[in-house]
């Protein structure tokens, strides 16, 4: 009996080990392990950060972001001209682009794709708010009629939901760009079954929701094909699983590593570990309305808190590669000032300010905190650190964990929270997206910061948006940041780092805020 058991165990182990060998990747496909949040493959409806990963691979946009250049660069477009009053943007399109189907990319497709995104009224539609209508001038020229001048227009055109889709084929599948598209468009089912209608180097060939999807090379691609014929993006929620799979060569790229897994991977042969700062910013916010914020509605108290926070400590908790932005424009965006020096912390001065404000012995205050975890770091971790920091100047935080869907989202949106910590990442890669923090902006109002409370600052938003001269815009942005570095109900405390693991056999793997990772730059190393 015992002997038999032993043999069975040995045989099982051997079999497992041998099939292990069969699992190693074959030389042509690249498997990516990622924790994506993808809910749909319909470009006109995509809003999740990881949707950009496959949209970038399968579709072209008028403009694009590349890690090697500042600001939006022309892609399908060859140029953009604004009228005098800034209300018209005329864009010319390259004439050699074709879709995977063989159909050429024309102005008609551009108009269809963008108006569809606007009229679907889904998550990404807000990006088209500035567009009133689109006119097709000729096969390769499009005219956008805007309702206000917009200095971030080309950045918006680089946004992935502005992907240009093959309108001929799309219409066959029930897509429409009409005004009532929100209720009449039926193409989502088609896309979600695992299909793409783009002009990019890859196509989606299969999609298993919450499991994986497959990208294969577009035979008709008009540009230069890469050396990688197939990508499989496999859903892997756990950083440890990704790490383990990477070391076993079950995947070649791990997109969601953590500080812990990275420290384990250091020194592993055949695996490279990369870290990049992201635009995801954690910030403390305090309500300007005294009935909601209590003591923290007082600017003196706000500044005291700003001085009491241990920025260096927060960077340590969040991990290597993190930094503290000075103000609302994250480091890495156009026009950003340099990061805040962690030595800014000054507990003594904080205590003085607090006493001046009338709280020499500090105070106790509720601190609701939601359970979201941007870049894998729970906001509650930040809350715990903040509680520790503030206890040093006499402020006691009562941390209350609230689910995002358990009321936190509504209260946050309606500006009812008194004192908390949240995160924000720009919807599109342009500093203008950060102007929402100013008084009267979307985020500003969540802290009860109405425009009337600081009209001068509030007005800067409109000025920056309509300033079509890039240099002048950068100047104004810097001015705005200097004004808010030590003032206001928001304290940006950290920019999260991103860790990726890659097999040494690949090159060109980099993190990209716009696309998570730009597959167009990846090649097999020679």
């Amino acid at each position: 009996m015992k002997k038999k058991l032993l043999t069975v165990t040995a045989v099982t182990a051997a079999l497992l080990a041998s099939s292990q060998a069969a699992w190693a990747a074959t030389g042509d496909q690249v498997v990516i392990g990622a924790q994506t949040d993808i809910v749909t493959l319909d470009p006109g409806r995509c809003y999740e950060p990881y949707a950009n990963l496959f949209l970038r691979a399968c579709y072209d946009t008028l403009y694009e972001f590349r890690n090697d250049a500042d600001g939006a660069q022309p892609m399908l477009a060859t140029g953009c001209e604004f009228s005098e009053d800034g209300l018209t943007a005329t864009i010319t399109i390259r004439d050699d682009a074709v879709f995977a189907s063989g159909n050429p990319v024309t102005a008609e497709d551009v108009k269809f794709s963008i108006m569809r995104c606007k009229n679907l009224k889904d998550n990404p539609s807000f990006i088209c708010d500035v567009i009133d209508s689109i006119d097709v001038v000729d096969d390769h020229t499009v005219q956008f009629n805007l309702n206000t001048p917009d200095s971030s227009f080309t950045s918006k055109l680089a946004y992935c939901s502005m992907s240009i889709i093959d309108s001929t084929l799309a219409k066959e599948q029930g897509a429409t760009d009409a005004e009532d598209a929100a209720t009449t468009d039926t193409a989502k089912e088609f896309f979600d079954a695992g299909a793409s209608l783009g002009s990019g180097p890859y196509q989606i060939t299969s999609y298993l929701p919450d499991e994986e999807f497959v990208l294969e090379q577009n035979e008709n691609y008009y540009g230069e094909a890469s050396s990688i014929p197939k990508y499989i993006i496999q859903e892997m929620d756990d950083a440890n699983t990704q790490m383990m799979s990477l070391t076993q060569d079950d995947i070649q790229i791990a997109l969601n590593l953590s500080e812990d897994t990275v420290s384990e991977l250091e020194g592993t042969d055949g695996v490279d570990v990369l870290s990049f700062p992201t635009m995801t910013m954690g910030f403390v916010f305090m309500n300007m309305d005294e009935s909601l914020g209590g003591p923290v509605s007082d600017p003196k108290v706000q500044q005291a808190i700003r001085l009491a926070i241990d920025y260096a400590g927060i960077q340590q908790i969040v991990g290597d590669g993190s930094l503290t932005p000075l103000s609302y424009v994250q480091v890495g965006l156009l026009g950003a000032l340099d990061a805040r020096d962690p030595s800014y912390t000054d507990v003594e001065k904080a205590k003085e300010l607090l006493a001046e404000a009338g709280y020499p012995d500090g105070f106790e205050i509720d601190f609701p905190c939601c359970t979201l975890a941007p870049e894998g770091i729970p906001l509650t971790d930040l809350a715990v650190k903040l509680a520790d920091d503030l206890s040093k100047i006499g402020i006691t935080l009562n941390i209350q964990t609230v689910d995002w869907t358990g009321g936190y989202a509504e209260d946050y949106r309606d500006g009812k929270l008194g004192f908390s910590v949240m995160y924000w990442s720009p919807d599109y890669q342009d500093p203008n997206a950060e102007l929402e923090f100013l008084p009267g902006g979307i985020v500003g109002l969540r802290s009860g910061w109405a425009a009337e409370m600081d009209q001068e600052l509030a007005d800067m938003k409109g000025q920056i948006v309509s300033e079509l001269d890039q240099d002048a815009r950068v100047e104004k942005l810097k001015e705005m940041q200097e004004k808010t570095a030590e003032y206001g109900p928001f304290i940006p405390i950290v920019q999260y780092p991103k860790y990726m693991g890659v097999t040494s056999q690949l090159t060109g793997v980099e993190f990209s805020d716009s696309y998570r990772m730009d597959v167009r730059t990846i090649e097999w190393a020679e």
Partner: protein, 278 residues
């Protein structure tokens, strides 16, 4: 008497082991403020994620807090949750089941169907929904646990009551004219309680596990409270620093196993058929 007790312990190794473990955890929880080497909330980022050493036998976590101290303090919540849940669910369930079994008929049918509906529900999902509705706190999580646990007690009590209500002394009481309610509360329930108590003691371990699972999922006292389940879930992000998730998990395991050994032993003790085995 003492001799008998001594024999019970010496002849049943597992029961003894379980009792020792439980005593250890009860003492640790009560004496934590005295015995713990550090303040469980004290952060020291320079010592972040240190492996177990002489200074920190269980290592430190991502805030530089001492894990041994946190484990010692954490016992209270698990113990409290386990014991209180069992008491509350036991009391409520017993009364419910007794009424259902004693009065029988349509009332019995309805009451039992309701309890079945609750039982049919997956525990964790129900607990998550309840805590989302009430908010995350130790108390609310316990309420969720009680709601999920009482049907078992109700069912047990009911079946015991069903058999007891036919017995002679109950008939005698009826003959004397005692009201049905008095019979229920003064004759039937006291005589049915033994099985429930046995179930309760074996259930404590289960409730401790369930509570730690819920706190692993983020329900329970908000951070920085050193709840074991929550410590394991924090430790998952730092999986390769095995001490962060390892020791609290071990603590949950040992406490549950101790409670279960004791529960099993008590049940064997009280079961006349198996008593000969001692």
């Amino acid at each position: 008497m003492m001799k008998k007790i001594k024999r019970i312990f010496t002849s049943n190794l597992l029961f003894t082991l379980g009792t020792l473990i439980c005593i250890f955890w009860i003492l640790a929880s009560i004496l934590a403020p005295v015995v713990a080497p550090y303040d469980p909330l004290a952060q020291d980022l320079l010592l972040k994620l240190n492996a177990p050493s002489l200074a920190h036998p269980f290592g430190t976590d991502n805030f530089g807090r001492d894990i041994l101290s946190r484990v010692l303090y954490g016992g209270r919540y698990s113990l409290l949750a386990g014991i209180l849940t069992v008491i509350l669910a036991g009391i409520f369930g017993s009364i419910y089941g007794a009424i259902s079994g004693y009065f029988g008929g349509v009332l019995d049918n309805i009451l039992m169907r309701i309890s079945e509906m609750i039982k049919a529900f997956p525990t964790i999902i129900l607990a998550i929904v309840i805590t989302s509705a009430l908010g995350s706190s130790l108390f609310n999580t316990m309420i969720a646990l009680v709601i999920v646990a009482w049907p078992n007690y109700a069912r047990l009590m009911r079946s015991v009551v069903l058999s007891v209500k036919e017995s002679e002394y109950v008939e005698a009481a009826r003959a004397l004219g005692t009201s049905r309610w008095r019979i229920l509360f003064f004759e039937i329930i006291p005589n049915s309680v033994t099985s429930v108590i046995v179930m309760a003691t074996t259930d404590i371990g289960n409730q401790i596990l369930l509570f730690s699972t819920l706190s692993f999922l983020g329900l329970g006292n908000p951070p920085p409270t050193p709840e074991w389940g929550m410590m394991v879930s924090d430790g998952v992000s730092y999986f390769n620093k095995f001490w962060m998730a390892g020791f609290p998990g071990l603590a949950i395991f040992t406490m549950a196993i101790g409670a279960n050994f004791v529960g099993d032993g008590l049940r064997d003790l009280m079961d006349p058929k198996l008593r000969k085995n001692f």
